[in-house]
Structures are given as C-alpha cells and as structure tokens.
C-alpha cells in the first residue's frame, strides 16, 4: 500500500466524464475501464468499484452508453460498454465544460500566467 503514490479524490461527476472519454477509444468492460483510468492517470486516480458500476448503469440508463455481453480475449463472457452517438455528444459537452473549468481554476491559482 505504502508503495503506491497518494491518490486524488475524484470530483463529483468527473467519473462520468472519464468513463465516456475512455470508451471513446472503443468498447470495454468495467474492469478494463477502471484499469485504464488508473493506468493513464499514472495511478493518481483510483476508480472505486462501488462508484464504477452505479456510474456505468446510470450512463446506460441515460442512453449515453450501451452494453452487450461478449467474449473477452481470455474466453470469458463479459459485459462490454460502448459509447452511443448521444454519449459522444455528451462527452464533447462535458469535455469543453471541464476544460473551461480547469482553465478557470488555473487562472486563479496562477495569476502570473495570465496572458
């Protein structure tokens, strides 16, 4: 445990964005999504399973992602999630919102960088 770097608390709603972003590359099952986020964030972000599945099902209910049972590369049946057109649109929206938010926070934290 101690060997791992300190983890960051995820902001509310961020997980949805990260899931959508992850699925942009292609379809994936829950575990793969979690590992991808963890790996890509250099282990800074840890996806709690307790948040992951409710989030996946919520996104599915909203129609942003769809799910289908398929065989994984190891030959097991797994539930794969895929981005829908609506999800793609939502992702774009969330993405720009996040970018704006990040820029705003950055501006406040680093006033010197102001152009």
């Amino acid at each position: 445990m101690n060997s791992k770097p300190p983890r960051l608390e995820m902001l509310q709603g961020t997980l949805d964005l990260l899931i959508l972003q992850t699925l942009r590359i292609g379809q994936a099952h829950g575990h793969a999504i979690a590992k991808y986020i963890q790996r890509t964030s250099e282990d800074l972000l840890q996806v709690e399973t307790g948040s992951l599945y409710p989030a996946l099902h919520r996104l599915e209910t909203k129609g942003w992602i769809t799910a289908s049972w398929e065989t994984s590369d190891k030959g097991k049946r797994a539930k794969y999630y895929k981005l829908t057109a609506a999800g793609r649109k939502q992702l774009a929206e969330e993405h720009s919102k996040w970018a704006a938010f990040a820029r705003a926070v950055a501006l406040i934290l680093n006033p010197a960088n102001e152009q």
């Binding site: 399973t49 209910t61 539930k79």
Partner: protein, 900 residues
Amino acid sequence: MTCLLFKLKWFWGRRAKEEELHREIQFHLEEEADQRQSEGLTAEEAKWAARRELGNLLLIEERTRETWSILGGGEMRDIWVDIKHAIRMFRRSPGFTATAVAALALGIAATSAIFSVVNAAVLRPLPVQDPDRFVVLMTQSVDQKGETSASSAASPVKYAYWRTLSNVFEDVSAYSGVLMNYTGGDAKEQFSGLRVSADAFRAFGIPILRGRTFTPEEDSPHGPHVVLISQEMWTNRFLSEPHVLGKSLRLNGDPYTIIGVVAYDRAWEEWGPAPAIFVPFQLDPNSNDAGNYFSVLARLKPGVTLQQAQAALSASTAQLRAKFPAALGSKDVFTVETFKESLIGNTRPLLWVLLGAVSLVLLIACANVANLLLVRATGRKREIAIRAAIGAGRGRVIRQLLTESLLLSFVGGAVGLALGHAGIRALLAVNTAGMPRVGTNGIALWIDWRLGAFGLAISFATGIIFGLFPALQSSRADLSGALKESTGRSGTGLGQNKTRSALVLSEVALAVVLLVGAALLVKTFVALYAVDPGFDTSHVLTMRTLMTGENYQETAGVAQAVKDSLERIRALPGVLKATSAYWVPLQGGAGFPFSIVGRAPAQVLFTGSAGWSPVAPGFFDVFRIPVKRGRAFTELDDEKATPVAIINEAMAKQFWKDGDPLQDRILIGRGINRAMKDEPARQIIGIAGDVRGAALNVDPRPTIYVPQSQLPDAATAFFVPIVSISWAARTQGDPHRLAGAVEEQLRQVTGLPVTQVRTMDEIVALSTARQRFNMLLMTVFGAMALLLAAIGIYGLMAYSVAQRTQEIGIRLALGAQGSQVRNMVVRQGMEMALAGIAIGLAAAWALAQVIQAFLFGVKPHDSLVFVAIPVMLTLIAFLAVWLPASRAAKISPVQSLRYE
C-alpha cells in the same frame, strides 16, 4: 418517452437484470484476481485481495440497482413492494376486502352513473362545428301569473324577420320534425324525418354522402318535391344502389325525387333515431303566417358574441309589430341562447341535484370504509409499531397504508364504473325520462376519456378521503405501548371509538338527508297519480294515423274517413265507445288566441288565448269527461250545421266572470295564419270539465273543443299533413287485446299506416317518466345510504361489544343482569344513531328547498316525510344495535375472562 419505456422495461425485467449485474461484478472480481495473480500473488491470495479491493459486494449491487428505478432512489420499488404487501394483506382478510370493495363500488357506481348522464348531456361538446356559435332563436313571453318563459316555437313571420338580422346571424334555418307516409311498398309504413330550410345543412353541418342539398329554388313555396334520404335507407331500401339519385320515392301520396344521401354519423345518435328523410321547408319569405309551428337555428357570425346577438334581437320590434300585429304578444321579446343550452337548460338543476345526492352516497361509502380501516388498524397496531421500530419513518408507514386504501379504491372504482355505466344505460333503456342528448334508450352514453378520467379521479379522491385519516391515526402509534400489548386487542382507546362514532353518526345524518329527498320524490309521484286528471285513463286504446293523400285535402274527405272508421271500430265486439281527435290528452296540442264576439274590443287584439282541440263526436264519452252544462257534440254538428264550440270550466271561469258563456260566440285565431283565415264565429254550446291535458302536474288551462267536421278546409289542409289524427276507443277488458282489430279497420278504411298504438295508461306513464326517473334514482340512492348506514352502525356496535367482552364479563360476574348489559349497549348505540338522525333532519330541512322544483303535491317540509323518515331510521338503527347488544347480554362471564 422512450426513456420512460426503457426504464419500465428494465423495471419489469428486474430479476434477469439483477442476475446480470451479479455476473458482471463476478467477472470484475475474477479479472482483478487474474491481474493480481499475474503480479505474483498465489491464486488464493489474489482472490482475497480482489475481494478486499472490491469492498461491500451487496452494497455495490444495491447502489447500482438504485440507478435503474425511475425515481432514481428505489422509490418505485418501494411502491411496488407496498402494492405487493397490500395485496397480501387483502388476501389474508377476504371478508374485509370484499366489504370495502363492495361499499366503494356501490358509491362509485352511483356517482359514475349520474356522471355518465352529466357527461353526455353537459360536458360532451355538441357534434357540430363550432358548437358555441350554434344558437336557437326564441320568443320569451310572460304568462298570466307574470312568469316568463322562453319558447323556441317560431312562425314564418319571425323566421323572415330573423333572416334580415344578417349582421349578427348567418345560416338562419327553419326545421321541424316531420312524419311522412310511404305507400309505395308492400307494407304501409311511416318515415320520420326533418323538414328543413336550404341553409340548415350548412348550419347543422349535416354531412352529405352523395348528391347535393336543396337549392334556394327547391326551398321556395310551391317548389318541386325533392328529398334527401339517410344512408341507412339508402343501404337497406336501395341496397346501396349507386344510381339512387334521381329515383322517386312516394311520400304522402306524391312522388319525391331523391337528390342526395345524408351520411351516417355515430355522433348524431345523441339526438335519437337518425332522420330517414329530409324535405325542404319551402317557407314563403313574404308570408304573414304568425302561427308558431317550427324552430329556428342559426350560426353567430364570426366575431359576434351571444350578447351582441341578444342586443340585436332586443332592438326595436316596433316595425315587425306594426306590420304583423298577430306575430308577437304585447310583452313578447326575442331571445337567443346556444343550441346546447336550449337542450340541457331545463335538465341542469336536476342533474346537479342528482350529482349532489350521489356524492352523499359516496361520502357514506367512504365513511364506512374508513371505519373498516380503523378497525383493521387497531388489529395491525403491532405490525405498524414493529415497522416503526425497525426504522420506517412515519411518512413511510402512511405511504404504505395509503397504498392499501388506494388499491381498494381503484378496484372499487373499476367495478363501480362498469356497474354504474351499465346500470344507467339499463335504466335509460327503460325510461330515458326526456334526458337530453342520451340518444334512444340511452345508447349515446358512450365511454369516453372524460368518463375514464372521472373514474380515475374519483377512485383516487375516495382512496385518499377514506384512507388518509385512518393512516394518520394509526401511524401515530405509541411504540412501546403497542409492542407491550400481548394481543393488540385492547389497543383501542376511547379516542378512537369517538372517531368511529363520529363517522357512523355522519353516515346516519347523510342517509337521513338522502332518504328525506327520496321520500319527497316518492310522494311527488304518488301525488301525480292521485291527482284527478279530469278524464278516465283506464281501458282506453289509442293510435294515430297521418291522413295524407288526395282524399284528405279537405275537411269533408277527412270527416267522412273518420266517420267510416269510427262506425267500423264501434261495431267491433269489446269496443264500448270510439272517437277521434287531433290530440288525446297528454299527447300535445295547439293553442290559439281568441276573441268573444260582441265584447267591447280592448286595446289588445284578442280576449285571451286557449288550447284548441278538434274532436269527433263521442270524445267526452270515451274519456269520460263530464259535460257540466249544455251538450256534447253529435254527428249532427257537421259542416252544414251552425259552427259550434265547447269550452272547459277553466275558460268559463277566467273569461266569463259575469255573463253566460252559452249565450256567446267566439272567434278563434282569426287572421293569425292561413289555417284560420276562414274560421267562423262559433256558438258555445257546452261547458266541459277541466282536463290536465298538458301534464298531470300542470293546472288545466282554458281549452276550446271544436268538431273536426266543422273545421274550415284551410285548417284541415294545414294541420292534417303535420298532425297525425288520434283514435281512441273505450274497451271492455284489456285494451291491448283490441289493438290488432282496430288497427286493421283503420288500415282498411284509410289505406294508411297506423302508428303509436298505446293505451291511455301508457301515455300517462310516458308523461310521468321524468318523475318516475327521479323517484327511482333517489330511492335507489336512499336505499344504498340506508344499507350502508345500517352496516356502519352494526359494525361499530358489534366491534365495540367484541372489544368490551372482558369488561362485560366482569359486569356480569359482579351481578349485572343480561338485560342491563343489553340495555347499556342499546343505549350507547341509539344515542349515537339518534344524534345522527337529528343532525340529518336539520340538514334535510335546510336542503329540502333544493329539490322544490321537482316536487308536486308535496311541500319541501312535508311533515309526514319529516316524521316517517326519522322513525324508519330509528327502527333500522335499533335493529342494527339490538343484534350486537343481545349478543353482549349472552356473554358468559367465565369464558369472557379467558377471552383473548
């Protein structure tokens, strides 16, 4: 929407979904374990690590499941659980469930029955375009008592005048019902249809299937004989022949060219049987005919309000009066109202009263069910306390209890709605009671969205009304107290019995109000039949013939046919007397203004107005109307003899305050229209007894009888094609037995179809249909109320006795007599019942005025009713109290102390 459907699908496929979720999480676990293993852990270690990593498996599944429900927080599932729980509870107590559902179904059936009629008559839009602009033009007059009344009867003079008001009205159209004899086929028959002016098709929006409507030329006086036929006639009689247009149909002896087919429209069923034929009215725009014998409808011009139209009608009628002095009475004014209002105006107060009455029935039913729920709630105290103890909030408990009551009310509502709708249709099939817009035998009471919405709303409202109070009360459970009770039996405090007594008390009070109303209407009906109609209704057979054809254009021809027919009818065995008249009592009539010859002419044109009844000899014998002075008509009063008339006592009293009518001559309707243009002065030869000829509850009006055979030809030519002549025979024994024989004689003599074969008793029954309808409905509602209230009293007392078994046992053990115990229970029950009766009487006293308009021969505060109803209720209440009371007296002290 799709999202909702998606969710619903999810909701129903829940079990499969849960399994799937479980598998998904399992896969996650395995995947995690695999990964750990590849990082160097043993299989066992990897599995545990993965498990640890995952956390609370159940919690994850739970939180994931929550995202599925519509409300997002598992509420939908809770409601489902509540419903399942409620169904389980009801299954466990079928007696309670059946009683509650039955009470609710009764209440809702009564309510939806009346609502069905209100919906058809008042709420449903008229099946015409722009119903708000569809108006009827009327004349408002003031009678001798100073009461105003509006009549839609219109004359050609009025019609022509209204057509000039083109700045406010368009498509001003004349119409009247018409009967025509069809003599072209093998069987003689009669068609009923409409006589309409050319614009009527557009004004009414009558849809045309084939051909065309009347041209203005065809609608002119002496225009050609043309006819539009109904789709039904086209289908059945002409077998949908495509070339029907241009064919000829023989009506009233003349060939009529078919120029069009009127399309069938189900919505029109509300007017009654669809007209089979439409013929042009052919009114003369320059006529000076002031006789009122049809109706006029019009459309308001776009942008014109009813008020503006009324203002235009109220503007000076001086010109009209100057040109046609007989057209308008001195105090008459023109008015306008929407066609819909003219249809339902008179019925509306009745409908509101009935709706009020059924609301009371429903309230009683609610009180009853609320009481049942309160009883159950005491039994469920522990269950509710346990729920509260393991964390259910008060809101949660209330919600569960309300779910139960709503489930009850929706089941009761569904049963009640079906029952009420079928019930009212069955009732209207027997007696439509002149209800507007319900169609023949009530077939136009359709189930529509309004009725459906009403059913939902009333079910929801009743569920809340009877459920909320018990729910609030039982959710306020005293936790430790309820849990400590070993049985839950003695959990009912005084307070709750008070509530229940109050409910039963109000049931009794409401029942009193309804029963007083019912009793007043029953008395009205009895009074109607007790009133002396002035003629003998029993053993009289009547039927009618529309006298059409070449032979019946003049008085002599009609008189000869009448004479021949009556001779044959009188010769039939079983016929005692026979006569003919334009109208028999209670079946319509006409009236004319008249003047007395030789009286100093007043400012007004006529001395007064009176009913007018052309009759054949024997009329007064057949109906046993006494001729008080002078003599009756005989065969000798024919066209060659001195013109004579007989007046009734009411007329003699009103117009001959001094002087002898038998010395005077009268002139009837002189100059009012073409029918009466040749009317001679008639010698009054007799005074007949008064007859209630308009309705049994209407005082006899002045009436003039004239011999049919002495009518001027113009009058015969005018009336005979539009008024079917009535035949009446006094028979020995059942009049029905002679119907066939009399009909046959008439057919042989006249060669025309015979219609409306009825006994006089049946005509009386038809004329009292509305009162019978009122009485029947209110009696049914009153009986329901009585039954529900009796059940309420009995239920409360029986429960209270059962509850007090131990107490009563102790009393008996300590030496109380059985009769003392019984009297104690009776006293307590009767105190409550009598209080309810007293309150009910006060309310009924205050409300009785509401139904005054529907009463006849009984005052709203009729003392007999206000004594009999409380006495009856007291007796019923006593019975309902006596049964549990005597059971209490028989309680064995030994057993009762063991009683748990």
